[in-house]
Amino acid sequence: MPLNDAIRDCPRVNGHRPWPRVVADEQVWRSVAAQLRDGEITLSGLWGDAGVVHMAVLDETSSGLIVVSLECPDGCFPSVGQFHPPAIRLERAIHDLFGLTPDGSPDKRPWLDHGRWNARHPLGNRASPAATPPAYSFLQSEGEGLHQIPVGPVHAGIIEPGHFRFTANGETVVRLEERLGYAHKGIESLMQGTDLARGAKLAGRTSGDSTLAYAVGFARAAEAALDVEAPPRAHWLRGLMAELERLANHFGDFGAVCNDASFSLIYAHCGVLRERVLRAADVCFGHRLMRDCVVPGGTSVDLDENGIATLHALLTEVRQQFPEIVSTYDNTASLQDRTVGTGILNANLAHQFGAGGYVGRASGRAFDARRAFAYPPYDQLSFEVPMLEEGDVNARVWIRIREVEQSLSLVQQILARLPGGPVRADLPVRTGEGMALVEGFRGDILVWLRLDDSGRVSRCHLRDPSWFHWPVLEAAIEGNIVADFPLCNKSFNCSYSGHDL
């Protein structure tokens, strides 16, 4: 990892697995921020703790990951956001939740805290909230002919809550500013002091569409903290379920993007495929979204012969239907007219923000946690990570199409080689720190976990890929017409709940 020597000399924390954690001083902290600014490494997470801030940084060339921690005895720390903009919203969230102040941050406004919670800084030194919620100051856009369009938090469609403030010049979007936090449920606070079983349930309810991926992330972090390994069959079942989740979501997104361009034929057919996947999951694992099917130590479900036959039938059905849907997408000029060249995210921003999933991969950033860290069962499976350079809505659709093909192949490989044996290992009760980076359908999900000596969660941080998607969506929409926003937004399909926690 191209980290400076100063980091290498920092004391390492014992019992942090599988990647190292070091305790840095302010100078080292600033030097890491400078490396982020210079694009040598990628910010993967930045979160608070009791009197400490942690920063996870990723070296994409060598697939190295390290957590740098800084103690904040005075309740403040040098802002990373002043050097590296992707950190700004994470720091605002740290201040809201813990009361730790990022010194020198260019944006001191609250983020998740709308002034309506029972307490300020609910995870730090709790304080009483202001009697009346303070007004939020949106960024200013000034100029002749500009007008504002406020949208949300209640939207016209069946989607999650969030506020979008558009400034438009005629039909053209000059600036979009997001305001999020409406779905903040206090997950990280509820995590503290719970046992692993309840912790896994909470993690699985961070973002419903990625419930499986979150459960895998939490389970892997817990297993790392306790230094145990799930049985091989559990790893393969997790992989199987993860690919089913990816298939269901990609079908849903592909259809929904086309529907936002008023092309409902593909929406209808993708809806059928999505429903087929969910029904197969229900038959195999007893829940359509596979919620609570993965637990620390393994899985809570197993796959029987009937399930295997169901999945083979699903593969046959999808392989028959999907190519015709794709060719319809590819050959409909009126639809391509809406998606090609719309909402372009340039490669520089995708790299700077470390945008994961189809957002990054449509803009030249090939990172995929399944490939970079080859966690089981992906170390034994063959698959490609599709990548495009165009960065428009069309590219994000095509990445999904290619990933559907890869996931179908992965499901087939898993079914052919699924090992036998138990699906769950017993977990010891001990203290430890663990971390996981897993690839959900939307991108890489980071889970960081510290267990106390009674095996309970003392701190758990969940970082959704949307943290690095939402800010670049603001950039991608600039210069597009207002009517193309639903299309762009759907092609990103950021999670509100996963981001708001």
């Binding site: 919670w117 809550p161 409406y182 449920k185 206090g186």
Partner: protein, 176 residues
């Protein structure tokens, strides 16, 4: 595209039969409802969905109601884009503190007579989030609820039964 369209003409429909009126789930849901409400609603409903801080799992299954298998619109049920056009608010999530005002304002913007359906375990009593500093602990803590459809998330078929229960005429009337 031609192949897709031809298939649509030739293949039998995917749409599933309507849940029977004597379905015990449906009867249970209907029993919990004010009969007068059902009479007034008649046989068509406009629904406004409000996510009051769910994990988006419930939204996924509500979306599924519109696919070819459940085909919500054949029952005269449809989702509308504004509370001004709605008879029913379908609310998900534990109602986060940050969404409370938005939910209240949406409720107030819905013309009477109106009914509220709370969808999912979180909407019922806050679910796993009931003890959070950031949640109100269910839809009923903020606005009056007429019908709860439980599940995490409820299956689309359960959502459908709940909505049909809302429209089902009381037995005496349906007999005439």
């Amino acid at each position: 595209m031609l192949k897709l369209l031809l298939q649509g003409l030739v293949r039998s429909p995917l749409t599933e039969p309507r849940p029977k009126p004597d379905d015990p789930d449906l009867a249970e849901l209907a029993a919990g409802l004010d009969r007068a409400a059902r009479r007034r609603l008649g046989r068509s409903l406009s629904i406004r969905e409000v996510d009051a801080g769910s994990c988006n799992g419930c939204e996924l299954e509500i979306h599924a109601l519109q696919n070819a298998f459940y085909d919500l619109e054949r029952f005269g049920l449809r989702f509308v884009a504004s509370p001004r056009h709605a008879d029913v608010l379908m609310v998900t999530g534990p109602v986060t503190k940050n969404m409370r005002e938005a939910l209240e304002r949406t409720y107030n913007a819905t013309p009477s007579p109106k009914w509220v359906v709370a969808v999912g375990d979180c909407a019922f009593d806050g679910g796993l989030f009931s003890q959070s500093y950031a949640a109100e602990g269910g839809v009923g803590a903020v606005i009056p609820v007429d019908l709860h459809i439980k599940g995490c998330p409820p299956r689309p078929i359960d959502l459908l039964k709940g909505l049909l229960a809302l429209m089902q005429e009381k037995p005496a009337r349906s007999a005439t």
